[in-house]
Symmetry: C2
Subunit: 326 residues, 2 copies
């Protein structure tokens, strides 16, 4: 590995001078600068970030913690985060938490050990000591915590919209798939939907699910129609589950949306490719990622930041699993 010393030797100057031209700090004669730059190019040298990080006690690394990159909602988030960070020269240390507090804690610790300069986390435990004791900026993504910097979409509102839309399009026997109990955004959207259903005095049923996994989605769909065969409107906990419901409806010979309407949640890319394409509540995942990264960068680079709570709008995406309004 070629170090700053090598460059200094080749350019015939001291390491201090090399450091100066690299960091554009302090004075340095045009000629000597040229010599140094040539040496750098010659050796294809780039400074050791680890040494830098050790001295400055901070790196260009940012920790990103997501529940499960395999759930198609999160890659969008991750991509948004990465694209924005990359523009500012930051890099990502990444981990999947599986919504597991221990795993999360373990990752956060190693993030800190690696001098990450900030953390973006999608966690169900934003108020745990892990985060409270963190001395670096942290942004919660897709999850909220009191006054802590957060970027999220309003789940309760999303749930409300889902319920309103499906009701106004004529469903009378609505079944809600309630997402995993430990996942806050899932409960928010569930609450929102229930609120509207209650307000309007609708009869409805609830199917409790315990994961968003592809593997189990089919099971929830089966159970749904076993227990409530006459349901004519399904508010799913996310697009994966909605897709499974759609498939099961087909299997049972139910016409969608004539016999049963289905509304998903997230607006994952696949939703528009289904047939019928999936009506859903859109969360602007990519933008959420970008916003979170932007907020974190502000937190890192400025001392005062105005808005540390960023709420992005959700919206109903009308496709083919809901009927048209008359």
């Amino acid at each position: 590995m070629t170090t700053i010393k090598d460059i200094a030797r080749i350019a015939g100057v001291s390491v201090a001078t090399v450091s100066r031209v690299i960091n554009e700090s302090g004075y340095v004669n045009t000629d000597t600068r040229k010599k140094v730059e040539e040496a750098i190019k010659l050796m294809n040298y780039s400074p050791n970030e680890v040494a830098r990080s050790l001295y400055k006690r901070k790196s260009k690394l940012i920790g990103l913690l997501l529940p499960d990159i395999t759930n198609p909602f999160f890659p969008q988030l991750a991509r948004g985060v990465e694209d924005r960070l990359q523009e500012h020269g930051y890099r990502l240390i990444f981990g999947n938490s599986d919504e597991n507090e221990d795993k999360e804690l373990d990752y956060i610790r190693t993030f800190v050990q690696n001098n990450v300069i900030g953390v973006i986390s999608s966690t169900n435990f934003p108020d745990s000591d892990t985060y409270l004791n963190l001395k670096i900026p942290i942004v919660f993504l897709d999850r909220t915590s009191n006054e802590s910097p957060s970027v999220y979409a309003d789940g309760r509102e999303g749930g409300r919209i889902a319920a309103q839309e499906i009701i106004s399009r004529g469903s009378k026997q609505i079944t809600i798939l309630q997402g995993p109990a430990h996942i806050k955004p899932a409960q928010d959207r569930f609450q929102g939907a229930v609120e509207v259903l209650e307000e309007l005095g609708m009869t409805y049923h609830v199917i409790q699910t315990s994961s968003f996994s592809y593997a189990e989605a089919g099971q929830w769909a089966k159970i749904l129609f076993e227990q409530h065969i006459d349901t004519d409107g399904v508010i799913a906990s996310n697009d994966i589950v909605a897709t499974a419901v759609l498939q099961e409806a087909h299997r049972l010979g139910k016409a969608v949306p004539q016999d049963v309407q289905i509304i998903g949640y997230d607006d994952t890319p696949l939703s528009s490719l289904l047939s019928p394409s999936l009506s859903t509540i859109r969360q602007p995942a990519y933008d959420m990622g970008r916003e979170a990264a932007g907020l974190l960068i502000k937190l890192i680079e400025q001392n005062k930041v105005e808005n540390t709570i960023i709420q992005l709008p959700v919206s109903f995406v009308e496709r083919e699993t809901t009927r048209t309004m008359n």
Copy 2:
């Protein structure tokens, strides 16, 4: 931040001793060990990985470069990699390359600057100087290069199987969607399919596509049926495109698989949730990720490794977009 010095002071010993108990190297009296361990627990101390990395000239970090985490094939890969690495105490620095050589080079450089101890890359440029000059272990994932360590599934064979299956199930007017020209695995599977079609003297058409993006998939599907309305068998370049074709077929009132059979590629999780569910060529993505991580770890921790080229089997997954054999 609490450092090894603090621990030493609190435990009333020298930093060397603390280091010894942490790393379980050298002798240390049971009593003094106890004192040190107590101090560590008291302060909730964990060693600074950056300083370690600087001294040892290598970290516990591994660089992972993927084309686009937003393509549902790659999260599976990533998850496999991460799960295995995590078991061995390694962490991931992650980047999306967008199949772009400059971006790739930029990431690899920052990986090196951060003392990553190995790299896993899904690249179209495995023979570029970037990789040849790398002095750390590298494993190519989903892509191959001569004799370099690689983990991949046989694309050519996958293409052959796709063609064989669709032919033996009765398609006569086959259209192949040829994936992006610069993506090797896409071309491999295309070649494989063409080979079989040629060998059997079938007539077939080719639609050239230039990306795997959701946004454009619909376009290719439209073009396909515009140019070859009488096609009765489609070999898609991956599951995303296959899904778009399926949707377009619906739109045109074509029955699947009666009028037109469709075979995808990858066996992305969504494939089984479509209706009709998608017949496809399965790549064991998660396992590929795990294998790649395992191979890299071997490369890092052992000096001799037997098999550095790992080829995983592809297989036909029969679902509902192909007819049953008689």
